[in-house]
Amino acid sequence: MKQDTAAKMMIISACAFFGLALTMGILTALKFVVPTVGDIEYLSMPRLRMLHTNINLFGWLLQANMGILFWILPRILHTKLFSEKLGVAMGILYNLTMIGGLIGIATGHVKNVEYGEIPSPFDYLVAVCWVMFFINVVGTVAIRKVKYLYVTVWYTLGAVIWTTFVYITGNMLSQMPMVDGTNQANLIWFYVHNAVGLIFTPLGVAIAYYLIPKQLNTPIYSHKLSMIGFWVISFVYVWTGAHHMIHGPSPHWLQTVSIIFSFSLIIPVMAVITNFFGTFATAPRGTRMNGPIPKLLMMGTVYYIFTCLQGPFQAIRSVNEITSKTDWVVGHAHMALFGAFSYYAMAGVYYVAPKLAGRKLYSEKLGDLHFWIMTLASVPFFAVLWIGGVIQGFAWLNPEITFVQSLEALKHAHWMRFFSGAFIFGAYFLFFYNIMQTFFGKYREEDEAEAVVAE
């Protein structure tokens, strides 16, 4: 089978799913301001929200990451993908599973697992796909032609190992008959938080660790920081799930443990970020920000700092009292999964797509435009969610303010979220068009000769 077929297929379908996910997002945002829009069962607000999170996480982000890594891993390891056929089979199964799972969600067949609503048997099929990915990753590392494993490989290996357990705990063990009440809640939050922390963080960071030095054509700033970042995160991240239940009905010691470890996350995060910025700082000044790829990587890193500084602080009991359960949390989650990791994934797609198509990116200018619109819209998007969240948090402290009054106060914030979200949605189409043109489009004849570049 032709090399990189799996990577190509997964990247293209991931980009399509991204659009679907943003459509669900914008519809959800619209329902916050005009709740009567689309008043039918399959478009009810909770269903849209479940579709929005699941398509984003699994249809877009995970699939894009897997596709990009299918291209990156063989390059770092100076070999071919362990089995292209297995990769393609996995890609096809994965996409069929997604479609089945999403239809399940839309018709109300869901599990009570946040981020894991996809019902069985589709969640079991996701696990099967993951095992196929696992075999391919480990196999590719095993047949490598270089001695040393680069940081990207560590993170990918970590992710495939950790995620196997995290996914099974959240989606299968939590649904076992003897698991109920707060015990079930604890397992689900273990999954929810580690889905972000041990699936998307390591995969996103793995991609950035490859792309930043490669794109800037400069070595990574510090090998020691890479090691600190990786080994500390593998120990620290997994403890934090219970911080979703601070002040709630879960054991007090477990909450305290989760707070301590949430705060400790500052260590690996700062190691990674110092490393990324250090690499940017040592790159040649004149060209280091040319085109959409380094811009997306830079902005993704900036958002990564923000979200990872919020995390430790909002886990502190007194801060949590205000921010928890409000729109703030929504802003925080968006900045991690959209701001940081989707930015890295988009950078990865911009980098890998031309290589897969065997020619240059269709338009760097369009890529820049996409970056600027999306970034300028995402700043107010995040900001209104935090500001709204703090307003809500303080309003709830005051017994004189009824619940609906606290909701009414957020009307402007919800409108603002809808409008800034609409710009993000619009910018997505520039991205999608650019990538599709790169793969399938016709280039002008004089450009064609120039655009066809050997890999």
């Binding site: 329902k31 916050f32 301001v33 709740p35 009567t36 008043d39 039918i40 069962e41 009810s44 607000m45 909770p46 929200r49 109300g108 869901v110 009570n112 946040e114 480990v138 590392v141 095993a142 040393y148 494993l149 560590w154 290996l157 970590g158 190992i161 950790w162 357990f165 705990t169 008959p177 003897m178 698991v179 109920d180 009440g181 707060t182 015990n183 604890n186 273990f190 080994w231 593998s234 620290v236 997994v238 403890w239 219970a242 239940m245 002040h247 709630g248 009905p249 879960s250 054991p251 477990l254 443990v257 359960k325 409000t326 949390v329 017994p399 009824t402 619940f403 609906v404 909701l407 009414e408």
Partner: protein, 194 residues
Amino acid sequence: MKIDVEKSLLWTATGAFLLFAVGAVLTTVVPPMVNPEMWTTEHTVHEYTEQEKRGIAIYKSEGCVYCHTQQIRDLESDQRRYGWRLVNAPVSSSWEYVNDRYNFLGTKRTGPDLARVGGKYSSEWHWAHFKDPRNMGEKFPNRKGIYEKVSIMPSFDYLTDEEIKDLTAYIQTLGRNKNWRVNAEGQPLNDYEK
């Protein structure tokens, strides 16, 4: 023997797994062992009827949990807000949930918390509210003036009458494992609006 982790697939993988496993075991397997109230209790906890179980299934498939939490946190503000007529709502305890096959503790309050909502409103009120939260009809006029106008809850008009009854039956059970509202004689109140 000198081990060079960065050259070894086996050592990198094993190291990453072992470091992860410590935290994974201590935060998932150990808590129910040292805190048995997470799954068992000596208190009397409501056993759900068949109708209420159907209601739970609807609560799950409609995704109510994405806007409504079910936990009174150990905070004065939660206890006051979700209390009833100057009686603070008691803080939610782990044991109250042991019969919940599916937990709906939740992480986001776009709407109010429902942990102690059972009995606060009549089933008729819930009926009108599910049908159209923004226009509950003549029987339930705007009590505080802004209620109907600003609610952003979806209308669950598409549920059948039976389904709304099942869902309401479940909601009326919420928070009753602690008898926190009593009448002048100290008897537990079941339907406060009547």
